[in-house]
């Protein structure tokens, strides 16, 4: 190099390289500035064409490479590649920035009021009596009971006589019964289903009978001539009164909660012996006494007992071999207690504002 140092050609040669180097650096700086200011995708595309396009600035600089020597070309070539790569990265970066900001702008435009009520499909509701009946049914299905059904317009024989309540028995007064004729009644209890089951099926029997029953009570806040009962019956060898207590305990826990306790009081039903009325510890206060339980701590919910041997005999079951228990609960009273309903008439009035609460 020193030999040609003074050479005119040599200096002009130096100037060309320097010039190209400067030009490339200028392109880099200028592009970097312009890219940082770009605000739209189209603008960015324009810049890409301007700097990197076939007729772009970088290409036009490279066209001058022909005048360089073989040693110089790789130097400039490398620099040009570095600039191209740099610009391509910058363009990609700018593109990402633009896409992001455009997306953010769109998102900002799409803000909605999420507190406006949702679009709902109206669902119907289950009647509170069905809710209670289903819950009770479910508990006993889980304990291996089947659901038995029978007619509502029933023979006196099934409703009374087979249940140890002969004609003119004073117990008939307790349940004022609707008669169709001398031998046909509107069943006053679901117990006739038990008789029908025992007469048609051999033990072991484990059934519950939910159903509609009728008694001649005038309509008021706590009475209805039509109401619903769920009765249960178990007949097998060696069934004990302890089994009845245990079954009712499980039932009370299932229906009224794990902490529920039960209490049996001796009572009289013609079709069971011994018979009991069953109280459950108050679901509102747990037994300490409150308004719901009238300060008793207990609420009467069930009638129960060991199936009367006369009833078993009437159904062709030997009471010396088999024994059984039966129990019954009123759906209306249970629903009223469970849901704090203060007027029984609401259950049969079907006001939608009432129904939709369940």
């Amino acid at each position: 190099m020193p030999s040609s140092f003074k050479d005119e050609g040599f200096f002009s040669h130096i100037r060309r390289i320097e010039k190209m180097r400067d030009q490339l650096n200028n392109i880099k700086t200028q592009a970097e500035n312009e890219l940082s200011a770009v605000t739209a995708i189209q603008e960015l595309e324009n810049l890409r064409v301007k700097f990197l396009g076939k007729k772009g600035e970088l290409t036009s600089v490279l066209r001058g490479m022909g005048s360089l020597s073989a040693e110089e070309r790789p130097v400039i070539g490398q620099l040009a590649n570095e600039v191209r790569e740099f610009l391509e990265n910058k363009i990609e970066e700018a593109k990402k920035r633009l896409v992001n900001s455009e997306r953010n702008k769109k998102l900002a435009d799409e803000v909605i009021d999420v507190t406006i009520p949702g679009k709902r499909k109206i669902l119907g509701t289950k009647h509170p009596l069905s809710i209670v009946i289903d819950e009770i049914t479910e508990i006993f299905l889980g304990m291996g009971y089947e659901i038995a059904e029978g007619p509502e317009v029933e023979k006196d024989y099934y409703n009374f006589e087979a249940l140890n309540i002969p004609k003119n028995h004073p117990a008939r007064d307790v349940q004022d019964t609707f008669y169709i004729n001398e031998n046909v009644v509107l069943r006053s209890q679901t117990s006739p289903v038990q008789i029908r089951t025992m007469q048609s099926k051999k033990p072991p029997i484990k059934i519950i009978c939910p159903g509609r029953v009728y008694r001649s009570d005038a309509v008021d806040a706590t009475h209805s001539p039509i109401f619903h009962q769920i009765e249960g019956l178990v007949v097998d060898k060696g069934v004990t009164m302890g089994d009845l207590v245990g079954t009712l305990e499980i039932f009370a826990k299932g229906l009224f909660g794990e902490n529920s306790k039960i209490r049996l009081r001796p009572h009289h039903f013609p079709f069971t012996e011994p018979s009991a009325e069953v109280d459950v510890s108050c679901w509102a206060c747990g037994g300490t006494g409150c308004r719901v339980c009238k300060n008793e701590g207990w609420i009467e919910i069930l009638g129960a007992g060991m199936v009367h041997p006369k009833v078993l005999e009437e159904c062709g079951i030997d009471p010396d071999v088999y024994s059984g228990f039966a129990f019954g609960i009123g759906a209306e009273r249970t629903a009223m207690g469970r849901f704090n309903i203060d007027d029984l008439r609401l259950l049969y009035e079907n006001d939608l504002r009432f129904l939709r609460q369940f």
Partner: protein, 796 residues
Amino acid sequence: MKVPISWLNDYVDINVKPEELADALTMSGSKVESVEKLGEDISNVVVGKIISLEKHPNADKLQVSQVDIGRGTIQVVTGAQNISVGDYIPVALVGSTLPGGVKISKGKLRGIESNGMMCSGKELNLTEEDYPGAGEYGILILENGLTVGQDIKEALGLSDTVLDFEITSNRPDCLSILGMARETAVTLGVPLRKPEIKVEKEEDDVNEYASVEVRDPDLCPRYSARVVKDVKIEPSPKWMRDRLKAAGVRPINNIVDITNFVMLELGQPMHAFDLEYVKSKKIVVRRAYENETIKTLDDQDRKLDTDMLVIADGERAVAVAGVMGGANSEILDTTKTILFESANFSGSSVRITAKKLGMRTEASSRFEKGLDVENTINAVDRAVQLVEMLGAGKVCKGIIDCYPRKAEKKAIKFRPDRMNQFLGTSIESDFMVNVFRRLEFTVDEKQMLVTVPSFRPDVEREADLAEEVARFYGYNKIEATLLSGKSSTLGRKTFKQKIEDKIKNTMMACGLSEIYTYSFTSTKVFDLVNIPADSQLRKTIVISNPLGEDYSIMRTTTLPEMLETISINYNRRIEEGRFFDLAHVYLPKDTNAGELPEEKPVLTLGMYGNIDFYEIKGVLEELMDNLGITNYEFQPLKDNPSFHPGRTAYLIINGKNAGVVGEIHPEVAEKNEVPQRTYLSTVDVLALVENSNLSVNYKALPKYPAVSRDIAMLVKDEILVKQIEDTIRQYSGKILENIKLFDIYKGKQVPDGMKSIAYNITFRADDRTLTDEEVGKAMNKVLNGLKNNLDAQLRE
């Protein structure tokens, strides 16, 4: 049954508080409904005697009185006008409390000091029933001769506690103080003291005064009687009146009070006849004659029939046996000679008679439960003993007792092991024997036989003995067990029950809420829903003793109750409602009597508001889909009088009519006060159950693409969509996948009497991609079919 504890205390020593006693008796089987403490809210009120009365110096309407209260005299200012010097009156002292929480304090009235208050009956919460004069306005004037200064509660018999028991129909023995004393003695484990019944002095022979003939011993197993002469009718003494009042019985005179006292104490209803009015002095117990009448004590003329038992004299009926006495032999103030009747009548006979005559009395309600035939002598002896005690007359010697067939006592075999097995307990045999003996059963321990006393008709077999043991052992001491070791069973619903659940769930998912309606109704409802006069639906099950016409027949249609529900909601300004009811109708079978009706389950849908026919129909389609019923269709139904003739359809399942759906007839809408656009449907649930298919068989998802084509056509108005769809199905072959109606149009560019209908038809094959050619061929067939069969004009 009201039992004053003071009375109970005569026969058993009560060593616990009233509340504890109530709890203990409730848990041993005598349910206490209420514990009433008489005079509980009265304190520091005493008997006073008015010594002087002067006008108040500063007020015309007030008087200043000096009142003797035993331990001194107090000054009381009063506004009362009904008092005079010498009157005994209740005085509330300073610091006393009265019912309703009223407290009396020292005060001045118009400048004059007043140290108490004279009380009216009302202020002490007394009625005329409690004390004569208590119902009158003004200060309660007490009877003369009371002890001045005595606590008013003692003076008026208000210091008792009364237990009110619910006695079950199987325990007539508990309808007596003595019976309850027996229960109390066993419950508390203390001795029972029965009253000693004897008469000191007897004169003359009863047979000189009267005779008894029982002609119908089937209705009167026993008739016992005694006679009292030289009767002096007067009020009974205070102790007896207090007892009766506390037990809820109004005192009348000594003889009537004695009969009531004995009934309450021993449980045996008694009757007293004035023998002067018993013709020929002869009591005849017989069935009434045809058309015989009697005026009863309540002054009503009663017509009797030959099933009723009467007590007669030589000529006429003087009482309806076990129900009520006759006015013709009533005890009067002038009565001199009486006959006490203590009889045992057949329970069912008394029950039927009382029912027929519409007069249930204290006596009849006891007799009908079946009383103790061995109790009559005791009772009549007790009555004459009380006569003697009260000095109410002279007792004649001897008892007339007609008791032709002595009742046998029941003996029951008792096996302690078997009873423990049955109860799930391990109670000692000694405990059992002790319970029986304390209940006055006799026990033969060698033979293991328990003989039941005559007053316990409810105890008939070993299970009854088990109850006696269990209730005194304590029901709640029985250990809870869970059928361990018994046969296991599977708990599950029947297919029908599952379908019913599915129906309900589908209805709720479709927005319908479940309702419960009455299953009896009025005969008027048929007109309300336009059911024709000759319709089978008007043949109903009729209730012979309904609660009124509105509830007199079992329903044969559910439409009226659904319309009533809609009407209630609509009239309460609820804009929209969707309801369903899964319930029965009751269809009489016209075969020979004795056959029960068919109880047919029906699903009823009802909707009103912003709703049209296609919404309610859509619910039914959803239901069919959920139940796996595919073979169903809807056909126009023009002549159901409850429904709109142009907007109603039959639901046909498997070729059989299974229901109705439609808009209610405008006339029915008007009559039932529901909106014109009300939609109802009834569906036969058994048809749903029969045709349901809940089994699911997975079908592979399609592997090849579908091809779809749209067609539009003009058809005559009367052509039904169903006809078009049937035609498309008929001609499109196996590759048809789906038909979808997407437009029905009438109006501009559609000629009158025509409609434009557009469909999207989808084709697909399971095993290949369909070619245009294949689809084109199928479409051509479809188009030709529509043209030829339905005269459809295809639109481009």
